[in-house]
């Protein structure tokens, strides 16, 4: 069974749950930006939760199916069509051999996950099918999909139509989006006033927002504690001796525009980081469009772990509903 790509959309790529263990060489974990949505899509069609799906941003692709399969689309909201007929999101449906899956204009969110029964079975690179274009790894020849590509799938019939994720379990960002932050790393570089302003101000997602990182603008510039810069760090007060970056860590070059590193993060560099987005909120970032208002919310470690448990419990409920 193959998926014939008639129109690739904007930047549609093959993603799974990523490749662990190569960040020390600068190769990031990658994988779905919204892992919750990817897992849900796979569960709906009867796949392993980590099977490779298509991640499409802002715009859906157009795909012809060579054989019949179960399909589900989760994440962002946009009209889903099979030969023009509208289908429900966060629900399984069947696409028959010869039919075409296509999409209307984006209504909310930023990224959709398209799961196909059997999963996409392009070759693995370092243990994952996730596409990492900077390193030309995974996906189709290490790149986003293009018109004319024929993507192999596991070719199973899947779980069939009519399975659905309850409304209350479809996780979406609030307005303004709330992103919880655990202060740490180089937080001490900020003055108390700057640290407070970071959480008080409303920020907006900047146009520079992709799989590597999301940039934010609109808050007050951050002031640094005065110091003589350490040897090797560089002259700007936002510089440090190049170190590792955490996934979700927030750097603020020059103190002006925070950047949250995401799944295709650079593994290190010379900018101070003030802490990191908690693991439970990383998925939400993947659903933010440019210009979305955002509030950063300060939490402690216990709150971070509680949020992580909540998210796991939601996934567990989907698992039970669909088992």
């Amino acid at each position: 069974m193959t998926l014939k790509i008639k129109n690739p959309g904007l930047a549609t790529s093959i993603q799974d749950l990523g490749r662990i263990g190569y960040f020390h060489l600068g190769i990031p974990i990658g994988g779905a930006m919204d892992r919750y949505a990817l897992r849900a899509a796979n569960m709906l069609v009867g796949n392993d939760e980590g099977a490779a799906c298509l991640e499409a941003v802002f715009m859906g692709p157009e795909i012809e199916f060579t054989e019949t399969a179960t399909v589900a689309v989760t994440g962002a909201e946009l009209p889903i069509k099979v030969d023009g007929e509208i289908q429900d999101s966060w629900s399984s449906f069947v696409v028959k051999a010869g039919q075409t899956l296509s999409f209307g204009f984006l209504q909310s969110g930023a990224r959709i996950y398209i799961a196909v029964s059997g999963g996409i079975t392009t070759p693995e690179a370092l243990g994952s099918r996730s596409t990492y274009p900077i390193g030309a790894l995974g996906g189709v020849e290490g790149r986003a999909i293009q018109a004319g590509d024929e993507l192999p799938t596991g070719g199973t019939q899947g779980a069939g139509a009519g399975r659905t994720v309850a409304d209350s379990l479809r996780r979406k960002p609030d307005t303004p989006a709330r992103l919880r932050v655990l202060p740490g790393l180089y937080w001490h570089r900020l003055t108390d006033e700057a640290g407070a302003a970071f959480f008080e101000d409303e920020w907006k997602v900047a146009p520079e927002a992709d799989r590597m990182g999301y940039r934010f603008k609109g808050g007050r510039p951050l002031e640094f504690v005065d110091r003589e810069q350490p040897f090797g760090a560089g002259a700007d007060p936002s510089n440090i001796v190049d170190g590792c970056y955490s996934y979700g860590s927030i750097q603020v070059p020059g103190g002006t525009e925070p950047i949250v590193l995401h799944r295709d993060a650079v593994s290190g560099g010379g900018y101070f980081t003030l802490g990191a987005i908690i693991s439970a909120d990383m998925d939400l970032i993947g659903q933010l469009q440019p210009h979305t208002p955002v509030k950063f919310e300060k939490v402690d470690m216990d709150q971070s772990l509680a949020a992580r448990r909540d998210r796991k419990a939601m996934l567990e409920r989907i698992r039970q509903d669909l088992s």
Binding site: H24, P230, G248, S267, L305
Partner: protein, 291 residues
């Protein structure tokens, strides 16, 4: 040196050995991250050593943040007593300084540079007190370098020169990062040199380009058959200046699969090095010349 422990969100322990760069800080961070690896702590998923710091990624569903933090802290004394000695390799990397491709790129991004009137090399020479770019290039390649971190993007090495601190070259990064850097550009930022393993964004000053691939996911070239990434922390590098003719010859050899980099195995002992830097370097360069 005062070690600082902190969390990066709920999935990372971050350990800063020192806020300034030194080989002592590097060796301690390498020893400590090795000790964490050897301890095989359940729930640890990635260990990333850096110049003067390191990071441990863990799964908080398997090990609690406080527990992993305590385990990492316990390993500090082990790293302090570890030998500051490495069996490693010295690698000759050919560099075509003042090449046409980085020149084209640096001219394209001139408005983002501290000194739009000259080149990156002219600027680096001037602020480090050299008469001209050629004297600066001489200082850049005459003494070897130490790979103190691999990362940023796939397989990119950060290198620290094996000379006294007063002889260290220091150059700021671009005022605003470029959106383009040619593949295999030899760059410079802070006290670090680097080789851009792939084409892409970058903020380091650009001095030249090497024809030797250091990252290849298809593993076509001979020296990347074992693994797609060439460098690892602890490697030692000697830049070798080459001209356009040599550049083209090496490139042709790379393309037909016959290129073999010059490499020699060496011992590097930090105490010996600190006691006699030029003597230690001379011995390593001799080993390289004999290879």
């Amino acid at each position: 040196m005062k070690t600082r422990y902190t969390f990066g969100g709920d999935e990372h322990v971050y350990v800063e050995i020192d806020d300034e760069m030194s080989l002592d800080a590097f060796f301690k961070s390498l020893s400590m991250s090795n000790a964490v690896r050897d301890a095989k702590i359940e729930g640890v998923t990635e260990i990333c050593p850096a110049n003067a710091s390191f990071q441990v990624r863990f799964d908080p569903d398997v090990i609690s943040p406080n527990e992993i933090m305590a385990k990492v802290m316990e390993l500090e004394h082990k790293a302090e007593s570890a030998e500051k000695r490495l069996t490693t390799r010295i690698v000759e990397i050919p560099v075509y300084y003042k090449d046409p491709w980085t020149h084209e790129t640096l001219m394209r991004f001139r408005e983002r540079h501290q000194d739009p009137s000259g080149t990156d090399l002219d600027y680096a020479a001037k602020i480090n007190g050299f008469e001209n770019a050629d004297d600066f290039i001489e200082a850049h390649h005459s003494q070897p370098w130490f790979v103190s971190m691999v990362g940023f993007v796939a397989g990119l090495p950060f290198l620290y020169q094996l000379v006294e601190r007063e002889k260290q070259l220091q150059v700021p990064k671009y005022l605003s990062p470029r959106t383009d850097t040619p593949k295999q550009t030899v760059g410079y930022g802070g006290c670090f040199s680097c080789i851009y393993s792939v084409r892409g964004a970058g903020g380091y000053q650009m001095f030249g380009v090497t024809p030797m691939p250091i990252y290849d996911p298809e593993q076509k070239v001979a020296h990347l058959k074992d693994f797609m990434v060439f460098f690892k922390p602890g490697d030692i590098v000697k830049w070798k200046p080459i001209d356009r003719t040599e550049y083209d010859e090496i490139l042709a050899a790379v393309e037909d699969g016959t290129y073999v980099p010059r490499i020699a195995e060496v011992e590097f002992d930090l105490d010996d090095f600190n006691a006699d830097m030029s003597g230690t370097n001379a011995k390593m360069l001799e080993a390289l010349n004999d290879a």
